[in-house]
Amino acid sequence: MTQIISIKDFSIGFGDVQVIKNLSFHVNKGETFGLLGSNGSGKTTTIRTLLGIYQPSAGKLLIGGKPYSVSSGIRLGYLPEERGLYKKESVIDTMLYFGQLKGLRRDQAHNEALDYLKKVGLADKAKARLDTLSGGQQQKVQLGITIMAEPELLILDEPTKGFDPVNRRLLMSIIEEHQKKGATVILVTHQMEEVERLCDRVILLKDGKAAAYGTVKEVRKAHGGKSLDDIFVSIYGGENEEVQNV
């Protein structure tokens, strides 16, 4: 299998706090990969470093064989944990701006944005200012921006955070749609139910190290056939301190 993401001997710290210690894993092209861990386990830091927002103190983090940069040619869709939009701009102008930044022509971005807004029931809000939309509607717009220009790599950091059940279902269907199109999806989360449903392989981070790593099946088998939810509780609830690389 072709690796689209390769992380080798990655370490990073902030001040005296070592967030990630010598972490290595890879993500195969076309798979859905779960980057799991409790709050503060280093998931978001790993993604931010992978995307060049943070600089690692050691190790190599590569996407498509090279460190990520906007000009590296990877079609990336990134939904960060910290979310927001230009509140005083209209929905369509914001989507056009990001669509064009992602390389779409204005008319392509316009069509793609309108198609998406129709699909999620926001067509009548296209010209509305973002700060007039409800929180859920704003999340839909942000999700729409993330998937513009057919990303080949979709990184979703805590994608269901703050989502109501309707938006959560929408998100799941969008992820599945992109899986079918062959996109690689990285799901950063601690919602195990979604992971079991969507992910091919997972890594569980604890104290900046891999506490478990492999296919969902392999990880479950290594933990006596427990559900991922139970494994999560056992790892982060202090029941199992040992690092298990499957």
């Binding site: 927002i53 943070y54 600089q55 906007v70 990336l76 990134y78 910290e82």
Partner: protein
């Protein structure tokens, strides 16, 4: 008002814990002390310069067709009487710099015009020739035994002053207009757009949109795009202000009997205009970059606002030494203010308009501004690049420069 005390304690204690509060608290008195020092030094230097000018004996000659002017008074004022027939010769002497001043009194002092010719010194000192002409006439009238002469000369007299610089006629006021436009433009653009420059990056931080943005567009592209947009917006704002005024003037000129603008009489000094434009453009770039950098380094527009005052003091503080720029352009303080990049724009633009900016100073000043503008823009990109995720705190200088 239950809990009012708790709220106040919380607000006061968290503000007192902020370094910015103390920087502002101590920063402003220090800045005011610096400004007070500048004013004191400026006033002292101006006063000294005035005394020096008073002490300076300048050469002048006087011709008199009226017969009223007393040669003894002219001589007492260190001047010299010359024949009326030598008028053109004396004018030429002033023109080529061999003589400082020449006063030609007409035959009819009450209805005629006193012609004053002088060599340019500076915009304020150039008035000394007219002053001398009026003093001589006034003293001569007082000394006269004729009641008619006294009565006639108490009326206002016409004085026409012509100043020469490097062999050509020089009108310091008109000469200031075109290069001075860049000073006015700089002042208004910073005043109008300063705050927008400052908040252009905090908006993305406050809206939490920056992380998604920076994985889609290069930080350098974003910052340079913002700076160029602000410059273009400033030009549009300038056009929006100027065009209606010009149109209004052209359309209503006759109806409202507005005074005619004779632009053809404005002296065009391409050198001064070019320097004015270069200083304006590089200064504008520098301060746009600086304000964008500050905006990128702090978490909110509110915190950025605190720094805006400091930047304004840097930019416009040198105006307190304005009299010094006129009276003592060679003083060390003027040179320092003109060449220190963050105070340079106003001194350079003002002195360029006044005509006392040396070419070397202009070139060095512009070079310093351009290099600093480029450095500040690079730092702004760096701050933006590494400070984007600092949603709740300012980046320290150490952090900005230590990142790889």
């Amino acid at each position: 008002m239950y809990n009012l005390g708790t709220v106040m304690r919380f607000e006061i204690s968290r503000t007192l814990k902020k370094k910015t509060f103390w920087i502002m608290a101590f920063g402003f008195p220090v800045l005011f002390a610096v400004i007070a020092g500048i004013i004191y030094f400026s006033n002292k230097a101006t006063d000294d310069a005035s005394k020096d000018i008073e002490k300076q004996k300048f050469s002048f000659v006087v011709s008199d067709e009226s017969g009223v002017i007393k040669p003894a008074i002219v001589t007492a004022m260190t001047g010299k009487m010359v024949p009326v027939a030598d008028k053109q010769q004396e004018i030429d002497a002033v023109k080529n710099g061999a003589l400082d001043g020449y006063v030609a009194y007409p035959a009819d002092l009450t209805n005629g015009t006193i012609e004053v010719y002088g060599k340019n010194v500076d915009i304020f000192t150039d008035g000394r020739y007219t002053g001398v002409a009026q003093t001589i006439m006034s003293l001569s009238a007082s000394d006269s035994t004729s009641a008619n002469v006294k009565a006639a000369l108490t009326k206002s007299t016409n004085v026409n002053s012509t100043i020469y610089r490097n062999g050509v006629q020089y009108d310091a006021i008109k000469q200031m207009i075109l290069p001075g436009l860049f000073l006015v433009l700089f002042y208004f653009l910073i005043a109008f757009f300063g705050n927008q420059m400052l908040t252009s990056t905090t908006e993305e931080k406050e809206n939490r949109v920056i992380e998604m943005l920076l994985t889609t567009v290069e930080a350098r592209t974003l910052i340079v795009g913002k700076i160029l947009s602000l410059i273009l917006l400033s030009i549009i704002q300038g056009i929006v202000v100027i065009v209606p005024v010009l149109l209004g003037y052209l359309l209503l000129h006759d109806k409202l009997s507005l005074p005619s603008l004779d632009l053809s009489s404005l002296p065009i000094d391409w050198g001064a205009i070019g320097i004015g434009f270069a200083v304006f453009a590089s200064s504008f770039m520098l301060f746009t970059g600086l304000l964008v950098a500050i905006g990128a380094a702090v978490p909110t527009a509110k915190e950025a606002g605190g720094f805006f005052g400091l930047v304004m003091v840097l930019i416009f503080g040198p105006l307190y030494a304005a009299s010094l720029f006129v009276s003592a352009p060679d003083s060390p303080l003027v040179t320092v203010l003109s060449l220190f990049p963050f105070t340079a724009p106003i001194p350079l633009l003002l002195r360029n308009a006044l005509g006392n900016l040396e070419t070397w100073e202009a070139l060095v000043g512009i070079a310093i501004l351009i290099v600093t503008a480029a450095l500040v823009t690079m730092i702004a990109v760096r701050i933006f690049r590494y400070g984007v995720l600092e949603y709740s705190r300012k980046l320290s200088l150490k952090e900005i420069f230590s990142r790889k």
